[in-house]
Symmetry: none
């Protein structure tokens, strides 16, 4: 059984091992020739972002992916599982990137914070569908999956907060600030990108990233 209803395998398990060598296998991403689980995740992401989790029916997902319900339930234990997988994927990506940036101890804290902030803006815009889903659909996950996602999210925020705290200890950032509030302040802005940013608008992801990063840095920096 490939089902992952209650699995805690970090989220890669469901799709792993399918299709290699098969006629349809191999491609990553959601193109028509991609493996079935990837295609399902890609279409689900698109549809959840477009009309919301509750308003997207399993039927619509499988039709968009060109498979049948049976196939979906072969790979995913439930609709909820699909959503959880989407969250896991984005959290994994962001955590990895933040860890890489934060670990560059040779770079001064303000530069690392600026880079981390800009990076999360860019990846949030690059995965705007995930960003939209993230803040809208958390409460539609089952309680235990919600708990798991919140825990992962908390760890991510803690790493970010550590950077702020490190900057305060080094005298770069204003000591009176509450680092947790700073993090909530900034990630509110990031999560809301999904409500107003449009790829075909006047601003590139990098422009937004630069400005958001700049605003954050000015807001915390020791004048």
């Amino acid at each position: 059984m490939a089902r992952s209803t209650t699995s805690d395998d970090g989220g890669t398990g469901t799709a792993a091992g399918t299709g290699s060598g098969g006629a349809s296998g191999g491609a990553s991403g959601g193109g028509p020739s991609a493996a079935v689980p990837e295609r399902l995740l890609a279409e689900a992401t698109r549809l959840f972002a477009e009309r919301g989790y509750d308003r997207t029916s399993v039927q619509e997902i499988v039709e968009a992916a060109g498979v049948t319900k049976g196939a979906l339930y072969h790979y995913f234990g439930s609709k909820d599982d699909l959503l959880h997988e989407i969250y896991a994927r984005v959290l994994r990506l962001q955590t990895e990137r933040l860890d890489t940036i934060a670990a560059r101890h040779e770079v001064a804290v303000p530069e690392r914070l600026a880079e981390a902030a800009a990076d999360v803006v860019v990846t949030s815009i690059q995965n705007l569908d995930d960003t939209k889903i993230f803040f809208r659909s958390m409460h539609q996950l089952s309680p235990e999956k919600q708990k798991a996602v919140r825990a992962e999210r908390r760890r991510y925020h803690e790493r970010f907060r550590s950077l702020v705290e490190e900057g305060q200890r080094d005298g770069h950032f204003r000591p009176g600030l509450r680092p947790d509030l700073v993090v909530d302040f900034f990630f509110g802005s990031v999560h809301h990108l999904g409500t107003w940013y449009h790829a075909d608008g006047p601003l590139s992801a990098e422009q937004v990233a630069t400005e958001f990063s700049d605003l954050l840095l000015h807001s915390v920096r020791q004048p």
Copy 2:
């Protein structure tokens, strides 16, 4: 007919005519003795915030309000209408407050911006249910109501943006900033209060307001 399906009466219409002085009338808020439309709105707000719009059934709302479905549909054209009414109410409130603050031309712009920022944080926390609903459920409104709410929201953002622009002209705020991005940056933070703030947590509304306002001001101020 008291229905307000397409009314643009500013939202007070639904409750009008229920009679001050009547046995059931008069009270505002959602207590058990309040008028039926108010009770429905109060319970709907609570439930939408608690479990989301799509996951709240009309049945649950009327049970919580102690009336029947027929009564709900006597006052509101649809479930969607209820949600729209909630949005209209909070937008009206925030717009009024911002207008009052922004109009105090005898006060310098940074002080007015700081006050406006702190004020919207406090009222967002005081109406935390509305805040939660706002950013989660916008896309569950019917397209035309969504358009109406977005338009109203845009007007609100524009007023806020004018303050930033005024500050730039006066030389208080950094000229290189894009005022629209500043507004999106800050209101992301505000709208996300609903995802992390808890009334029984360690922070008062005023503490958050002061810190968010401070972060905003530092982020834009001419150093």
Copy 3:
């Protein structure tokens, strides 16, 4: 009480006596200044013909008539009552006209039959809404009202059948025909006028009446 829920007063009772001397009274027909019961009947007739009895709500009727539900229930015991009144009205009219024509014993039977046939076609077209309602909505009447209408209808058919029988006895009409079948044959055609006749089509009521009457006469006449 003016209600006529179970009355057998021949159908005139409900509206009689209202409004004489009142500001709104006097006019017959359904114009905006007509008395309330007439206006209700007129709008109900129009709406029942347009969208069917079950698909017309009491709310729609009272809105079209410019009154409230309370007013409707003041004059009519039920929605069903309204429909019954419409049937009674058209049956009364047709019966009266047939009686008048059939009683002209100085005229030969074929001429009387031809005139009766043409007349019922003309009045059916002049009251096309009633004609549409008649054959579509009979089964939506309450069982007892349905019985009453059927009985009245049967009496009407019997009078018509008598003409055919009289013609057979006089040697004008073919003796082998079953008069009841002739009547059903012809009234099928008449009742179906509502499904195809349009006032703005190429045929006048009189043209249809002449041709239908001619077809009937040729179908029964002794060659």
Copy 4:
């Protein structure tokens, strides 16, 4: 998906694929062992004829057919779809029969018209439920389905009318008659069979057919 909401496949599609030879498949008609779509159609036909389309609930249909609502909606897109399917079935049958009869060019027109007339009476009586539904429920179809049925019906009438016109050209029928009116005259009679004919009455289908056909022929024939 077996749904046929908008299908124009001539109406057989809904039942396709249920498998001849399967444990439940094969039987036509509405017996308890028939395939699910057939059983649903059979019970719907019976109930629509008995109490009308609007007064028959989907719940009643599925209970009568011994299945669940989900099963109905698996095969039919809507209640409206069921009705449309009933119309399509009867129209197909009648069109086929008329075509066969009208195509016998070796037979003189009056004989062919008489046979066609008698045949449509017999099949209308044999499918009396369909006949009842036909004239009562047309206006309860969705506008586009109504249009489709009317178009099909028009084609049927046109074929019948062609017979009349052919007879006029051949000198068998009176030249002054409007063939379209003759057709409306006759089919009014046919459609109304449902309102008065009873299988347990004194008349056999053939007796009615013979007399109706005779009345039609006499009404149009050159004396």
